[in-house]
Every structure is written in C-alpha cells, then in structure tokens.
Subunit: 456 residues, 2 copies
Amino acid sequence: MSRLSGFPELLPAERVVEQQVLDHLRRVFELHGFANLETRAVEPLEQLLRKGEIDKEVYTLRRLQATDGDENTADTLALHFDLTVPFARYVVENSSRLEFPFRRYQVQKVWRGERPQQGRFREFTQADIDIVARDVLPFHFDVEVARVMAEALGGLSLLLAPHTSGSERPGFTLQVSNRKVLEGFYLGLGIAEPTQVMAIVDKLDKLPADAVRLMLRQAGLDDPQADACLALSTISAPDTSFVARVQELGVEHPLLAEGLDELRRVVEGCAGIEGADVVVDLRIARGLDYYTGTVFETRMTGYEHLGSVCSGGRYDELARDNRSTYPGVGISLGVSRLVVPLVAGGLTASRSVPSAVLVSVLDEDARQASDRLAATLRSRGISTEVAPSAQKLGKQIRHAERRGIPFVLFPGDPVQAKDIRTGEQVDVDPATWTPPAEDLVPHVVTPSTPPEETAP
Amino acid sequence: MSRLSGFPELLPAERVVEQQVLDHLRRVFELHGFANLETRAVEPLEQLLRKGEIDKEVYTLRRLQATDGDENTADTLALHFDLTVPFARYVVENSSRLEFPFRRYQVQKVWRGERPQQGRFREFTQADIDIVARDVLPFHFDVEVARVMAEALGGLSLLLAPHTSGSERPGFTLQVSNRKVLEGFYLGLGIAEPTQVMAIVDKLDKLPADAVRLMLRQAGLDDPQADACLALSTISAPDTSFVARVQELGVEHPLLAEGLDELRRVVEGCAGIEGADVVVDLRIARGLDYYTGTVFETRMTGYEHLGSVCSGGRYDELARDNRSTYPGVGISLGVSRLVVPLVAGGLTASRSVPSAVLVSVLDEDARQASDRLAATLRSRGISTEVAPSAQKLGKQIRHAERRGIPFVLFPGDPVQAKDIRTGEQVDVDPATWTPPAEDLVPHVVTPSTPPEETAP
C-alpha cells in the first residue's frame, strides 16, 4: 500500500497543529459575527464549467454500477474545486431565507485533479470568509474582510511560532491592490483594452520585466505607455504613501481616483495588526479572476516559494438570479497549503493525544477504581485516559511518555500525581487537583523549541 | 436551480445545531483521550471493493480531461463510503508511527451512491470512535467504547431537548449484543453452520418470526432448534438479568459462556448514564458485518423509523499486514441521520449568527467609533458585529432582531446597551459590560420551546 500523491494525510500530533489552526480561525471569524456554513461536496458539472477555465482540474463522479443510459451527462456531478462557486449557488438558492448582508465562514475540503507538485494538492482544506449583499454592498465591507483575515493571520503567526519573537517569527504579509487603480490608470493612459493589459501585467510574477514589456508592446502599447504600466507595477508601500507615488506618474482618470481612495481606506483600516502586515502592492492584478475592485494575495515569510496562501477580493457579481445581483467580497485561506509544509518542516504538537493525565492501573481487578478516578478528573474538564493494562508501573509511565502525556496518577490512599518530565511525585486530592493550565491541552512545538526534559 | 436529492444542506441556524452536536461529541471524545484524525476522501477502488458487498454504492472519480489511456482501472479512485475502511488502511500504513493501543475519533463526510430515501443520504457526516491494538486488544476496551458513546449520546439528548425533562425527552437506547453468545448458543444446539443462522436471525428486523422460523427450518434446523433460536432472540433486558434467562434455555457451550460474561461486563460498565439507556437485545446480530464479539445498534426515542443511528462492534481483524493483525472495537454515529430529521422537525438555534451584540452606527462618518467599540467587546471574547449602514436606529434594531442578536449597543457618552427582547436600555461601560452568559452563544431551541419575547 502506498500513499496517494497529492492527498496529504497527517499523523495525530500533526493533526493537533491543524486543529489548533482551525480552532483559531473559527474563534476569530465568529468573534466578528461570521456564521458557519457547509455546502455539499458536489455540484452539477455544468454549473462548475460555467465558472471558467478550470475544466482540466475537475473530478467528475460516477456511480460504480451506473449503466450507460443511467446517467445523463446533464446530470453529471463533480467535486467542487473551491468554496466560492458553491457559496454563490447556495446564496441564490436560499436567498429568501438568508438575511443580507450575509456574512459566513466556510471550512471544507476541495478537490482539483491537477498534477501534484510542491504545495499543490489534489485534496486540500480551505477556510473562506465572505460577505454578500443583495444588489448593493457598501465598500466598508472590503476593509472589514481584509481586517478580519489580517487579524486571523496575525494570531496564526503567534500560534505557529510561540517561542520566537520579532523578526524571527514567520509572519504574514497581506498584499492589497485594486483593479480600479490599474484599469483607471490604463484608461487614463489612453489604452483601449485595459483588461488585456492587466492579464499581461499579471505575468510579472513569473516573467522578467523586459519580457512583460515586450508583450505590452506587442499588444499595441507605445513605449511611454508600456513604461508607465511597468512603473505603476513597481509601486508598493506599507502605508498610504503609495497614493502620492501613483499621482507622481501624472495619469488621471475618475476610476483611478476611486480606486486609490478605496485602497487607501483598506490600508488605513488594517494598520497596526500584530503579526500581519498589510501592504499595497500594485503588481497584483489577479487578471484571470472575476474581481472588480479590491484584490488580495498573501505571502508567508520564509515560505515565499509557496506563492499566495490566502487570496481574494471584491466581486460585484458573485451571483445573480432573476431579480437581483449579489455582490460580495471575500478571502480564502489555503489551510493545507500552510499547514502541510509547516509540519513537513518539523512543526508538531507537544503530544499526540488530548489526554493531560494517564491514570495507572495497579491490578486488572482494580481497574474500576482507576476508571472512577479518571471520571472525577473528566467531570472537571481534564482529558484523561486509563492505562491499557496493569503492567509494571515503569511500563505504564513509558506509555504516557511515548504519547507526551505529562502526568500519571496513581490510585491509592493518598492518590499520587507524578509529573513525568521532572519526576516529581506528590500527594493529591483528585476532587480538586488540576494540572497547570499550560498542560491541559497540547500546544504547538516549533522545530527550534528546546526539547522538554523527560524523566529517565 | 434545484436541490440535489440525497445531498442535504442546512440553513445557518440549522448549522448552529449541527455545530453544537459536533462540538459536544469532540468534547466527550477528547475528555476520554481520543485523538482526532482525518483521512483523505478517496481510496483506491480495489481497496474499497475488497471490503464487501458495497460496490453498488460507491462513487468513482475521473478527471474531466482524462483520456482513455490516461487512467488505468487499477488506479481508479473512489469516495470512501465509511470511515472504518480508510482508518484500517491508515493504521497499517502508519503502524510504525502510531502508539498502540491507538484511540482515535474521526468526523468526516462519507458518500454512497444509493437511491435516496427517508433518512438515507448520498453525502452524510459520520462521527466514529475506535480503539485499535497490535495483535491483542483487551476486552475492557469494548466496555470503554460503549460507555464513551453512551455518555456522548446522553449529553446529546440534553443538548437537543434542553427544556423537556424525564420521559418527554427524546433519549437514546444503545442496544448491545454479542456474536459469541449467538454463535456459542447455536453451536451448543448442535447447529453446524452458526454463521448462516445468524444471517437468518438478523432478518427479524424486517420479517415476522414465523417467516424467519420457516427459513431456519429450510436451512436444516429441526423444530426444537428453530424454537430455541427464536427464543434466544426475544431476550432483552436493561440489566444483567438476561444471563439467567439465556441459561434457562438449557444450552451450554464454552463460547456461549464467554459471550455472556463479556455482555454482562458491558451492561455493568454502562449502568447509570443519564439520557442513554444501555440494554441487552439478543435480536441484534449484525450478521452481514465483520464483527466477532460485541455488537451495538442505537435507537432514538420518537425516531425509531430511522433505524439504527449509531452502530458498531468488536472486529478482531480490522486490518493486518505481514507481521501483525490489528484488532479493534468502535462505534459510528450517523450525525446527519440524527441532525437532518431533527432540524426538519423544527429544531433550530436561538439565532442564525454567532454575534451576541450589534453595535449601531449613528453616522457613516462615525463608523470607526463603532468599530472600536466592537473591538473592545471582541477582546473579551464577545462575538460582535457592526451595523451594515447608518440607517435609522429602528432599522438597525430590526437588523439585529431578524438574526436573533439579543443586544444592540449605542455608541456615545455614555454607551448604552439595549436588550431588544425586553426593550430595557441601560448605560454601560464597554470595557467591562458583558451579556449574560446564556446569551453569549446561540443555544438549541426545540419546536416546543416557548418563543422568546421580542421588542415591538
């Protein structure tokens, strides 16, 4: 039996890290009033194909025993490849039963049939937040979505590197741009087809500036136009100074002015979030997507090769039905894209089990006494397991040690508790004794964390 | 656009109910030291088919752009139809990196391509607990798994019907049997093929006793043998009295004695759990499954037509590799099977959003003051959202009301908080004010719960 390429699976201690990431995201999103949703894993294939050039990446489904006439192509189901398309369908389908503006977060697996490569998976978990309205969605929601995700990322950087500080800590940089700035700037330059230019400028991620310049010239731009487009794309700033730098390029257009104002509001609204810098980067266009204003990408320090771990933006036509359009703004965090490389790099948890305590069993006939002791601790919220057999106590302690369980309790009169890291053993009252707060749940351990001392 | 039959989706308030069910299960499982795991959604089709008569129910996958030569049948992937087969594969694949006995819980979607009918879904969530060992798994784990799931179900019955009591509360009955009892009894009767008899007796669920009796006679049993088998199947008891009743039938066999002792230990070990009765029911054989000892099924009061919502048992050959076998015992709870009918019956949450507080916006230019007020509350763990626009205050209150948000905060000096259910409005200090504990998170509301008063 061999592992399937592109379908990552975690070991128990690694899953603890992922669970803590997901718990953290849920806490932040719910503090901001986002309701949780899950949509089914499948959508009609036609529905997915309508959304663009993703057909190569879709997995279609077929019942094993289906006969040829059994399943109409029109009914073919496929696994969703993101959470945005299903959410748009859900909003339209349930529009009469939702309250708008509707804010939801959604954490689910998605599937893409692409060739696996570093950081690309065929199955992976995404965590999305979106706010969607009926007909009109005020701009301040763009700021809010950016701020909520930046707060979530800032907290993540603390969670994932608890023992580092300052510049050593792997942080997140949320890069913000606005397609109105780019489109308005191109229009102000007298370029007739700004969308085409945006798609070319988008390639600056992979091609040198000279190559992109050549493509711009081939698309019909003259030298000053191409130079101006490239000059715009070099502008980045951690504050609102980008506005003056754009204005210095001497281009004017109402759409440009509107975009600059929106972008300024995002940067101002996201200032001062610990662990997540929000910076303007006008190289970002997301030219192949459906965004109409604000766009986001995110880099993780030290993991820049993974590309953007968290992307999104404003889309004014997320969905529509006969009566209304549903404009939205959202960001999607690639949880697997973040967690899988980190645990592959050695990030793990202080233990592979939730248990803070192992209750030993002195004699198989006395197991009930150990069970009762464990129940007493559990009634006070302490995760506890009972030794699997009445082996020698040294072996029972080893059992705890191998799982990272910090305390072993010995039934008796008095009951005794041993911290197996220090060897310290004391009399305790099981009705009141509690492990130290930091030992109650597993915590994230970075590769650089000094190993904890263990009893001999 | 129409819903897909067999793929249930919940509205936000309904999802709150499901989330609370899942949170509760996680809390109980982790208190007992079960580690969480997720396995990939797909397995090689061959792997799934080896596990029995489920081939009609499997969804196979195909990349949309795959060419005929592209994908070898031997490489065909299919969606998993339960969590046990993937777990068995995971255990063997990672056996050198797991600590045995290994206890895990797993909550994931599974898929079956079957014809949808009441309570049957094509996509549904299961919550499984299993304990698996290398080579030998002591029997006390059967008792533990039963007890943990009974505690989880007992807590669920409180969670799902908080305002009813005693006999009115929908409870769970965990029915326990043991295949050693049945097989030993049949062997003691001189029946040569006990497995065949078990499969026939299993049909008592759907056929009248007379029809089953006829099938037993056709399988070669004489009248006294058939009568004895049927007599055994009628025995059920909420306590250990079943032992004497079996013994009164006058059959003896070492396997029967072993099975009776095991079953007695399960019943004794699960006594006194509030909200979940554990009863012996010797009609249960689970004749088509791979169980070798203890078997479980579960009925929910008032929802008996759904069949078993929670099933499992002991399987001594969960998995094997070249060196070892991995015996296990586990139970699987059908979360969707439970939650979907309950919410269809009117069970819902007190609000559709996590927010306990809506901060009003007096003027769009003063939105930042409202944002700061919201941040103050969130820093103390209070889920808070800010009004989407500076409408008239009556409309902002209606916005909260429609979502079930209990409190509206008005910025100013002093800040005021209004309980929109009573209309009471008081001055508050935002640095210390907290809604009552019962309002901090949504709670489950039963169809019979008297509606809370709302402000006019």
